[in-house]
Symmetry: C2
Subunit: 496 residues, 2 copies
């Protein structure tokens, strides 16, 4: 269902590829006329190309997703750090290969040469090296910047969130690596995605395969990056890239082709162990033995059912040195929703003495998850968490409404009232319904005189009359805890 | 006590003014040697000038402060939005006066001319205008960028958080304005700051005073900016600025001087109303009448005891049109910790048809609050929220520890175990004490055979032995809820 909605949404925006994305992807289409774009003084009223505002509806979903993810990270004892949005340009240089051209430079206004961060991994490695950290399990949720061609249909913006957890330190083989899979599993499950696969593979196994198949070592990384395209292109195209473009002998390519189409679980480990040509290769053996441990630990952690040991998984980045991961939602054509791997040498690149700190980590593709969740529940999501709206049944009672707000705020109850001197009762009720506010407190001159209030359950329209003012807070708190009869979706009634 | 610590801290860094700030302000002084700065390949290992990393200890405090503030904002029904970290340069042009030179420009790499946001107010006004919003109560917590001379002793960085709430819409006079004071009051109280004053004043009253005292209208803003310095400079210096630098007649300056030294509460309103020269001035009257309402509403909201109607409060920014605020911690020499006011014309500057949306808002000076809280409790703050640490009393039990972790994670309990194959029991206990983890689960071969565990309360060292494995989760959850006898500070034991 979610997938269907997403596909409809995607089709709807099909025409917009490469264009500035609309301001509000879901509810309201942008209504900017040419005149507005020109605006007062011939001046453009817009966000930068490839960037957008997020309105309260979007933000409510985003905050909920972030909270869910943070809860998982904290369940695993992770800490968080914050690094500047800018780094010295030289910190980023030589880390991203040809994607370096996508880095946003800060103007030289005298002083250091700076650029905006391209991801959170390089700043993390810089932090670990600079602060001489030996071990840390840290998460970091923040925006990164890439001067890519924006494409709304692909959810590709120039400013977007990354949501990373990395475990640095010298530890038992595959223990933190398997925990990363468990973390991805918990996050996707807690966000109510039930159909997903976490693909895993090992860079050393890939290198071993390349070696055994006759690929020269200097071509390992470039052939690896060809394999990485197997999720988007058929084998024939990848084979052509390997042989025609990258000069690999055809026989080598064909042998590699046999391996990289394999996937499975512990059965695949057994099969590879019996492949004497492969298992006698030192790198391949190390990779296979580690993958065996990895799958065993995934079993211990109760997540093996969602794990696929997939030899076609290669990952684009050069710096991975061990296990690599990628999670995809099965059935949803949204690409990967998590990815990562082990990178044992990156911190060493920043250390004066080349001190290495082995790291493994995974990045959650939150922007893709947001898109799906927005399509799934956008209009249903409450924008506020207001619990009580104070309404007067007649004019001139602004100050009385304000007094009631004060009492409820003092008691920690999330409360609003109209800022208008004389708000219409019917308008106020409509607002409560639209915003999903569960309770209204209603007063009139008579109630004030008798020191009572009426409390209305907005969804059932049941009214509790003559609640003594002195017991109002108690009543409200009790009613907010009690499950309401025709409570709608959890997101509508949740008061947390 | 907090203030004392802060002052000590400040003195400690006295020598560093204008220098790059140290990486970690509180616990560990930076240990970067010249050799490290030069680093591998003559390459600098540092953050940009005036920017810094925040380590897990800092982040734990920051996250708690943000949570407290967000809780208050949500109690008042506020929504949140997000805008890009960059704006078109022209969006920022002409909004910040001479401070415009502090704006960070993004390099021109082909395309639009962009700059980093300087505050959150201008992007908010742009958002309201662009999306044709009529009314919104929004908060926004995000970092802004200023190429200012960094000064650690003043806590002044080039990248820092702002934390704003603004209420836009056509509403009854002073109702949202008074709620802003209530919000500041709640935030400071909820953060356990008890000694503070919220100064309030009104731009129209100031303009009325200037007019009545003989200041020509074209000098209103520049004289206002001179008055703004009264919190840092004596009257004589301000008088000199008005007369010698800004050409105000001495008689006018002296008359202004009499007014701007006044402060009080409703008594001051009464006094100003009796001042016939002043109260017959249309602007002054409007300001005085509004301030009377403001103070009355503050009384209704139970915050009048912390409010000071202070005629010397002027605020630096040109765009304020009504009430202005500033909160200071009395006794702490940290400057203002919140500030804001009404700005009814800013949105109109962005609208093609000049459509105005009146706004009032307040910005919490979170960076200053962080500094005080870090000094107050830095080392006491837990970095993680881990509830259980799994320990084996003998070697070779890694997989058993992992299984227990899985059971606890499945039950939502925040759990860690050592990633080492054979971690030393004593090291693990020390870690629990250092990190403030409340419970440890201990297993040995004997326990595994008998399907039981030992649960240890880290703070009391009491052990509950022979807990059946099947009841482990129940026991743990019960023990986490129960108040522990010698529980230390709330931040140490809180498990939320």
């Amino acid at each position: 269902e979610a997938v269907k909605q997403l596909l409809a949404l995607k089709a709807q925006y099909k025409g917009l590829t490469g264009e500035d994305p609309p301001q509000q992807a879901i509810k309201k289409a942008p209504k900017r006329s040419a005149k507005e774009k020109a605006a007062a003084g011939g001046f453009q009223l817009k966000t930068p190309k490839g960037m957008r505002d997020y309105d309260p509806q979007h933000m409510a979903i985003r905050e909920r997703v972030f909270e869910t993810i943070k809860t998982v990270f904290k369940r695993h004892g992770a800490v968080t750090i914050e690094t500047p949005v800018m780094e010295l340009k030289e910190t980023l240089t030589g880390k991203y290969g040809e994607d370096s051209k996508l880095i946003y430079d800060v103007a030289d206004q005298g002083g250091e040469v700076l650029a905006l961060r391209y991801d959170l991994t390089v700043p993390f490695a810089r932090y670990v090296a600079q602060n001489k950290v030996d071990n840390i399990k840290r998460y970091h949720i923040a925006r990164v910047y890439r001067r890519d061609q924006p494409a709304m249909t692909k959810g590709r913006y120039r400013e977007f969130y990354q949501c990373d957890i990395d475990i640095a330190g010298v530890y038992a083989d595959m223990v933190p690596d398997a925990e990363c899979v468990r973390i991805v599993h918990e996050i996707l499950s807690d966000l109510n995605f039930d159909e997903f696969v976490v693909k895993v593979n090992h860079r050393k196994l890939l290198d071993g395969i390349f070696e055994v198949c006759g690929c020269p070592p200097e071509k390992f990384r470039t052939i690896c990056s060809a394999v990485d395209k197997l999720d988007k292109e058929p084998w024939d195209a990848v084979r052509k890239e390997m042989t025609v473009d990258k000069g690999l002998p055809e026989a080598a390519a064909d042998k590699i082709g046999e391996y990289v189409l394999m996937s499975g679980g512990l059965d695949l480990v057994a099969k590879l162990k019996q492949d004497q040509a492969l298992y006698s290769n030192a790198m391949a053996k190390e990779g296979i033995d580690s993958m065996e441990k990895m799958l065993r630990f995934c079993e211990l952690y109760g997540v093996l059912d969602k794990v696929s040991f997939d030899l076609s998984l290669a990952r684009g980045l050069d710096y991975y040195t061990g296990v690599i991961y990628e999670a995809i939602l099965t059935g949803a054509a949204v690409g990967s929703v998590a990815g990562g791997g082990r990178y044992d040498n990156l911190v060493g690149m920043f250390d004066a003495k080349g001190r290495k700190v082995p790291c493994v980590g995974v990045s959650i593709g939150v922007e893709r998850l947001f898109s799906i969740m927005e399509a799934r529940e956008g209009a249903e999501t409450r924008r506020t968490q207001t619990e009580v709206y104070v309404i007067s049944a007649q004019k001139g009672l602004l100050e009385e409404r304000m007094k009631i707000c004060r009492e409820l705020w003092d008691a920690g109850v999330r409360t609003e009232t109209s800022y208008k001197a004389n708000s219409k009762t019917v308008t106020d009720f409509q607002l409560c319904e639209k915003e999903g506010i569960p309770l209204a407190i209603i007063i009139g001159g008579d109630e004030i005189e008798r020191k009572v209030v009426t409390i209305r359950d907005i969804s059932t329209r049941n009214e509790t009359k003559d609640v003594p003012r002195s017991e109002m807070v108690t009543y409200v708190k009790r009613m907010l805890i009690a499950p309401r009869s025709n409570a709608s979706s959890p997101s509508k009634t949740s008061s947390v």
